[in-house]
């Protein structure tokens, strides 16, 4: 079976159009990031998060009334998977008696005939929250630097630059999409927590994986076709690896789709983030990473790009 016979798409020729599209999507995301922002979990803000499961369905409004009564009016309340499961999140910090105790006492009073069990409870101090935030930032920045160095060492500096630009594109675009979609799709929690960071690092890993495969083919073709122009060379390499790109990425998207559907509430946000990230990652390997190599050589001369 074959999905693709030999293809010869002229990928690089339409790059300018795609710059505009990429730019537009990222701009939309950035606007959403500034206007709507992201939904940080208590991992990064500090506070208390409680997920309770009631025996019968409850109205969100009633839960909110309880919180107002116990003095935690600024808490966020939403359903978690089903209408019996309620997620309550507040940045309130407890000293002595904890915030969660106040909430639980209030809930058992209000819903006396509808007992609940605590599925999950987290309480994070503000100092820890700040540290986790910093750790996450360091993890992303350092992995980008490490990737730049590795690719610059194995290929050439401009390739490292292309890969990093592609990754920055993926991270920005995915963040923007998370901001846009947050709260739009029911029962999909897109809060930014430690799992989201893991998702971003995975997408960085897989996206660079994809970029490296194309670069590797460019490196190989360069040796065999010394006289070929750069654009033609890159197009040829992308076409030759296209079958692999589609199949691998298709498989990964399939796996993520399964994780999204069956992976449970906890994994759903993770899978969604990666689905967006992987799709942009595949696209950016071609239209950001490879395109930057082209742009660079057109500005600074073909001699600069040897590989």
């Amino acid at each position: 079976m074959r999905f693709f016979k030999k293809t010869s798409f002229k990928f690089m020729e339409i790059r300018n159009t795609l710059y505009v599209i990429s730019g537009a999507v990222i701009t939309a995301g950035l606007i959403s990031l500034f206007v709507k922002g992201l939904d940080y979990g208590i991992d990064f803000l500090g506070g208390t998060e409680l997920i309770v499961q009631f025996q019968n369905e409850v109205a969100i409004g009633d839960v909110r009334d309880v919180l107002n009564r116990v003095g935690i009016g600024d808490a966020e309340v939403k359903t978690f998977g089903s209408n019996r499961d309620i997620l309550i999140r507040t940045i309130e910090q407890g000293k002595g008696t904890t915030v969660s105790e106040r909430i639980r006492a209030g809930l058992s009073e209000q819903f006396a005939g509808n007992p609940f069990t605590v599925l999950k409870e987290d309480a994070i101090g503000p100092k820890i929250g700040a540290e986790l935030r910093l750790d996450a930032l360091y993890a992303i920045i350092f992995s980008l630097i490490a990737i730049l160095l590795y690719i610059a060492f194995r290929f050439q500096f401009v390739y490292g630059l292309g890969a990093i630009a592609a990754l920055a594109h993926d991270v920005l675009l995915t963040l923007g999409v998370l901001s846009i979609f947050n709260g739009v799709i029911p029962n999909l929690n897109l809060e930014i927590n430690q799992n989201t960071v893991a998702a971003f690092l995975t997408l960085i890993g897989l996206s660079v994986n994809d970029t490296v495969v194309i670069f590797d083919r460019i490196r190989e073709n360069k040796k065999n076709f010394r006289t070929m122009g750069l654009i033609e060379l890159i197009n040829k390499s992308i076409n030759e690896t296209l079958s692999r790109t589609i199949i691998t990425m298709g498989t990964i998207v399939l796996v993520l789709a399964v994780l999204f559907i069956f992976g449970g509430e906890v994994n759903r946000g993770f899978a969604f983030t990666l689905l967006i990230g992987i799709s942009t990652g595949t696209y950016s390997s071609i239209y950001i990473a490879s395109a930057i190599v082209v742009e660079w050589s057109e500005r600074f001369g073909k001699k600069a790009v040897k590989a």
Partner: protein, 604 residues
């Protein structure tokens, strides 16, 4: 075949080793299933009969993270600043102001309180010796002193927490130091939050209690032994022979208590030793109501805090009979220090008491010469020295420690009463058991479905190549789990996500190779040459892409915390496993196959 022998050996050996490491996990799972099917009493008996093997399996299996089995994770922070404040000789207004400034500093920066304190003093051009140490000491000496005290306070807090968790009886707790001032406590299967919070945060209670007279204790133990023996049916087939030569089983039947709580003739009279394996059993016996009635009201049995090695590689706990009423409590201890006695070259601990404490101590020791006093922290006995003479003035010396470590532990315990190391809960996460179960199910179902779909696609698209890749994929999964078990790793939910992603990476390696082989075939090469070229040419792409992902994994592991580390760990293990199985194993396999008959191979 001969030239492939080493390759076949490597494949078979790595599969066998993985299976060997995974066997305890499988056994543990089987045991849990058996126990579920048994009623309360039967399951207790089952546990007692198979104790050793169950314990070993528990130790060697792949552990599940708290997110998968439910439980509590608490991060404690030792309030070093509070300690520094308590250590000051006088606390005038200027000092209070400095402490206030440092406290607000610790909220906003990561710097150590001692450093902040020193800077606060230097900004005011004040000498630290006004409040600490001797007047002649310079700031360096005092900073070193405070640093040392902070480190000790954290050790003390660790010991107090460990001691309490041991007493609380959680299975497989984990207590680790994190950075300079934090302690992570993980308690699987625990959901009583309030209880745990109090357990971890309450002030440590140090007590001195006299031991009960040995003859009374022996009578009590004898009556317990008789009570238990009466429950065992009398074996009528054996005539009561002379009691001096009982077989081990016969002794256990006739003396059910003394067979587990052993009276050691070489030890102090009155105390009993219990093999670690029998500790739970003895604990259960002592908790029985009818047994409790046999114990006089003024005495109680307390366990030693630590076990000791004895012969035959067994470890024993000591059971101390102590008076219920404490003679003194730990508030009176001002200082304690572990040193080596220069005269005898033996480890000793010196203890200093407050003036009020010293008066009581003189009375107590005077009235109990040649008797033993147990030193007890949170109901665990750390030492039970014999009073040699009346101690006047409050300076005592405790001898008889086996080594300096034991002396240091006693120092920590004695100080716990006087200089509490206040701890604060800075992070608390708990997962209810039902969410844990749901997560496991969700994780399992999605892994299986994802794997099956991928495998079906591979077999369909690449034919023989796909089937070989599928076998390699199963090997890869086996290796990841095997390595996880071998290193006593913990599987978490993000960890499962890591596994799923490495499976995708493994598939990618095969796709890269097979697409290349197809290209080479289209160029007109023979299958054998195409396979060889495919593997060789795909190698640079595979190694470069996997290495970059691996580097990301290292950085994640280094900078991430908790759940991220679990993800990074399986990702790194998975990348290595996938290189081995998806690239090398399949390559060798095709190498062997193309040597024999190429017609059997198809890449679709």
């Amino acid at each position: 075949m001969r030239k492939h022998r080493s390759k076949i050996f490597i494949i078979v050996a790595s599969v066998a080793i993985s299976l060997w490491f995974l066997y305890p996990t499988y056994q543990d799972h089987q045991t849990q299933n058996t126990l579920k099917g048994l009623s309360g009493l039967d399951s207790l008996q089952y546990i007692e009969e198979n104790e050793a093997s169950i314990r070993q399996d528990r130790l060697d299996r792949i552990k599940l993270g708290l997110d998968l089995q439910g439980g509590m994770r608490v991060v404690l922070e030792v309030d070093v600043l509070k300690l520094i404040e308590d250590l000051a000789k006088n606390k005038d207004d200027a000092f209070q102001e400095i402490i206030k400034e440092v406290r607000s500093g610790t909220q906003t920066t990561e710097e150590q309180p001692v450093k902040l304190l020193r800077r606060a003093f230097e900004n005011r051009e004040m000498r630290m010796s006004r409040y600490y140490g001797n007047l002649r000491d310079d700031n360096n000496e005092i900073t070193a002193f405070l640093d040392d005290e902070s480190t000790k306070a954290i050790d003390r807090a660790m010991e107090i927490v460990r001691n309490r968790v041991d007493q609380y009886g959680v299975s497989e707790p984990s207590i680790q130091k994190l950075g300079g001032t934090r302690i992570i406590v993980e308690l699987p299967g625990v959901s009583k939050e309030e209880e745990v919070r109090q357990l971890l945060q309450g002030t440590a209670l140090l007590e001195f209690k006299l031991l009960k007279e040995p003859d009374v204790v022996y009578r009590v133990m004898e009556s317990i032994d008789k009570l238990l023996a009466a429950e065992n049916p009398v074996d009528t087939t054996v005539a009561p022979a002379d009691t001096t030569e009982l077989s081990a089983e016969e002794f256990a039947r006739q003396h059910p208590f003394f067979s587990v709580a052993i009276i050691n003739p070489q030890a102090f009279p009155g105390e009993a030793i219990v093999d670690e394996e029998n500790r739970e059993k003895v604990r259960r016996i002592l908790e029985r109501e009818d047994v409790q009635r046999l114990i006089p009201n003024d005495m109680q049995f307390l366990w030693s805090a630590k076990s000791r090695f004895a012969n035959e590689g067994k470890t024993y706990f000591t059971l101390y009979p102590v008076l219920r009423k404490a003679e003194l409590t730990g508030g009176v201890v001002i200082n304690a220090r572990a040193t080596i006695d220069p005269n005898y070259n033996q480890p000793i601990v010196t203890m200093e008491m407050s003036s009020q404490g010293a008066r009581d101590w003189a009375r107590i020791t005077g009235a109990n010469i040649e008797k033993r006093i147990a030193i007890i922290l949170d109901n665990a006995v750390f030492s039970a020295p014999v009073v040699r003479n009346k101690i006047i003035g409050g300076n005592s010396q405790i001898e008889g420690m086996e080594n300096l470590d034991e002396a240091r532990l006693l120092e920590i315990v004695l100080k716990a009463g006087a200089l509490p190391a206040p701890v604060e809960i800075v992070e608390q996460r708990s997962v209810g058991p039902s969410l844990g179960e749901d997560s496991i199910m969700a994780g399992m179902v999605s892994s299986i479905v994802a794997t099956l779909i991928t495998m079906a696609f591979m077999a369909l698209y690449y034919r023989t190549g796909g089937i070989v890749a599928n076998v390699a994929l199963l090997f890869c999964l086996l290796f990841i789990m095997g390595v996880l078990a071998a290193f006593h790793g913990t599987l978490t939910l993000p960890g499962i996500a890591g596994v799923i992603l490495t499976l995708a990476i493994a598939v990618d390696a095969n796709v890269l190779v097979y697409e290349r082989i197809r290209e080479e075939v289209e160029l007109g090469k023979t299958l054998r040459a195409a396979v060889e070229a495919g593997y060789n040419r795909a190698w640079t792409a595979i190694i470069d892409s996997n290495l970059t992902t691996f580097i990301t994994g290292i950085i994640l592991y280094q900078f991430g915390s908790g759940p991220i580390q679990g993800f990074a760990l399986t990702l790194m293990i998975g990348i290595i496993a996938s290189m081995l199985s998806a690239y090398w194993f399949t390559k060798w396999f095709f190498g062997i196959l193309t040597d024999r008959k190429t017609t059997a191979i198809s890449f679709g």
